[in-house]
């Protein structure tokens, strides 16, 4: 698996309230509405300008605070396949994996990457390459994710993986209906 994308760079302790505000947690129930509010209280430009494939880069403790899974889902709905950080808060880390978004810990890469840089993340080699580095491309290695985590990512998230495990893959995925609609 390889991902190439343009980077959005943020600082330390980006919390899930600024990623997906709490006031929306029970009023926005359709995942298709989530992307428009991603990072709303951190960077109002993000949701307007993000392109599918873009990568988010953060400092330490990325995703701290509330357990709300919408914080991971809203970034997924923006088409963000990978988040690179110095460290992740544990519930957000799990929420990313469970929704098929790759959380990669690589402090050296975070130090080197600037907003707008185009980078490639190579999972097979556990390498991040900064393609837009002016002279020759810089590369950084990261600790590979465990086999159990990769199994969830490769299945597309926890729900699809469990459908496989439970033998319910053949059943239609129920269309999610919302009472408020």
């Amino acid at each position: 698996m390889q991902f190439t994308g343009r980077c959005w760079v943020y600082g330390d302790d980006v919390n899930t309230d600024v990623i997906f505000p709490g006031k929306y947690t029970y009023t926005l129930t359709d995942v298709n509405q989530f992307a428009a509010h991603a990072l709303e209280d951190l960077d109002p430009d993000f949701a307007k300008q993000v392109q599918p494939g873009d990568i988010i880069v953060g400092g330490k403790n990325f995703g701290c605070g509330s357990s709300r899974e919408q914080a991971a889902v809203c970034l997924k709905m923006c088409g963000v396949p990978v988040i690179i950080a110095k460290s992740f808060a544990r519930i957000f880390f799990r929420n990313c994996i469970n929704n098929g978004v790759l959380p990669i810990v690589c402090p050296q890469a975070v130090e080197a990457i600037r907003k707008g840089d185009v980078i490639t993340v190579d999972l097979a080699q556990s390498l991040i390459r900064v393609d837009s580095a002016p002279s020759d491309a810089e590369t950084f290695s990261f600790p590979p994710l465990s086999a159990s985590v990769m199994a969830i990512i490769e299945a597309g998230g926890l729900i699809p993986m469990l459908r496989r495990k439970l033998g319910t893959e053949h059943l239609p995925m129920p269309e999610i209906k919302f009472a408020a609609e």
């Binding site: 129930t29 544990r90 129920p174």
Partner: protein, 443 residues
């Protein structure tokens, strides 16, 4: 080699003789917590193609996050939760107004020493106060637990905090937590099981103990732990007896048998770390050296002593939450408010953590004192904590609150400031109209 609390608790939860930090286990939690997010979890559960929850008796569901419903959408969400509860026969369901999940499950003795509880709420660390392993998880993971009863967890490394001494007057467990988080940063306990030991812990009231593991969610901790003592057992025993009498009255033989077995094993099921357990790091704190602390906008680790921030104007002072919405919190606030009025420029709100807290406050005269001082009483529940309703600030306003989070935008608008402090500091600030030291207000 000795074992930490987390290693022992996750060995029990995964049915293994022992576990070691770093190991991945399939844990089978005794309790699975969810709240207003139950309806959203149900939609994920349906995608799994499973009809029935595997262990409905393990589920604990509380409507608390936006109660009573502020909008039709919130009401619809609650209606969906009730439909799920009926359909799956969920026994431990608590309606609007009963209180905040962590407080209610404690009051109902649904979580006991040595148990593991996983919940789709970051403050599930709370249950460390009674020696349980409590950790927050995501919604998909709760759906997975409903379907299969198990979930992978990594056994965390542990850190030990030795707490000695006694709190000075007007200094609280909240001030201790803010001091710890301020010293070590909001990721100071990242991924760790944070164990608290020392005579300072055993001297704290049970309600003060509850504050500590609750606040460890703001420290990055996976779980937290305080060693359960006789005071904890007595609290739980009384409440288990109460539930037993209710179950007997309803001739509910299954529930009676479950509670009787829990009463018989209450003490023997408690887990304590070994003296030679391995800790990644250890810190020591002396409670007698602490003073009232305040977390300033917009970070919980942006902490200063009250002397450095007093005098800043506040338009709203709010008491409540799973951190500081209990009886001793309103009692401390009333010690400041008694015979005083709040400032004309400030409003004072209180959300009791539970209906039980509100009833006790009524009986003890705190409700009268609070109202006479000019306070407003909201329904038991999470209130304005995450910006839903019941006291969200206007653009440019400043709130001082007894809550646990002051992230930008937390209470509804990114253009408002939130200070976090103890209930006494919140009450003193309401009286003064500016951030104030209760020791100076009361004199």
């Amino acid at each position: 080699m000795g074992k930490t609390f987390a290693e022992k608790a996750l060995a029990r939860a995964s049915g293994q003789p022992e576990t070691t930090a770093g190991q991945i286990v399939d844990a089978r939690p005794d309790r699975v917590l969810s709240h207003d997010n139950t309806a959203a979890i149900y939609r994920l559960f349906r995608q799994l193609g499973v009809e029935r929850v595997k262990h409905p008796e393990r589920l604990c569901i509380t409507l608390d996050h936006a109660v009573p419903a502020p909008t039709t959408q919130h009401a619809q969400n609650h209606a969906e939760v009730r439909r799920f509860v009926r359909e799956q026969g969920v026994r431990h369901f608590f309606e609007v107004g009963r209180g905040i999940c962590h407080q209610v499950l404690s009051e109902e003795a649904l979580v006991l020493p040595g148990m593991t509880i996983l919940g789709s709420d970051s403050h599930t660390t709370h249950f460390g106060w009674l020696g349980a392993f409590g950790a927050g998880i995501g919604r998909s993971e709760v759906a997975a637990l409903w379907a299969t009863g198990e979930l992978w967890l990594r056994v965390p490394e542990s850190m030990r905090v030795i707490v000695n001494g006694s709190l000075p007057p007007w200094v609280t467990a909240k001030d201790f937590c803010l001091k710890l988080i301020g010293d070590l940063g909001q990721d100071g306990g990242l991924y760790r099981s944070v164990e608290f030991h020392g005579d300072g812990i055993s001297r704290l009231s049970l309600e003060s103990r509850m504050v500590i593991p609750n606040m460890m969610a703001e420290f990055g901790a996976k779980n937290a732990y305080l060693p359960p003592d006789e005071a904890v057992f007595a609290y739980l025993e009384e409440r288990l007896q109460r539930r037993l009498r209710a179950a007997e009255a309803q001739q509910d033989a299954v529930e009676c048998a479950a509670i009787e077995s829990q009463l018989a094993t209450l003490r023997s099921n408690a887990l304590y770390p070994d003296a030679d357990a391995t800790y990644a790091v250890e810190y020591r704190y002396e409670l007698g050296a602490l003073e009232p602390m305040v977390a300033q906008p917009h970070r919980v680790d942006n902490v200063a002593p009250i002397s450095a921030v007093k005098g800043r104007p506040v338009q709203q002072a709010w008491l409540g939450t799973c951190t500081n919405g209990r009886l001793e919190d309103i009692a401390a606030a009333c010690d400041v408010l008694r015979g005083r009025r709040i400032a004309r420029t400030t409003r004072l709100l209180w959300n009791p953590a539970s209906s039980e807290v509100l009833q006790a406050a009524l009986r003890l005269g705190y409700v009268a004192t609070f109202l006479e001082a000019g306070g407003v009483i909201n329904a038991p529940g999470c209130g304005p904590c995450m910006g839903n309703h019941m006291g969200v600030p206007a653009v440019g306003e400043v709130t001082i609150s007894s809550a646990n989070r002051n992230f930008r935008g937390r209470m509804g608008t990114r253009e408002a400031e939130i200070y976090l402090a103890s209930p006494a500091v919140v009450a003193a600030s309401a009286v003064a109209g500016v951030i104030a030291d209760p020791r100076e207000i009361v004199g």
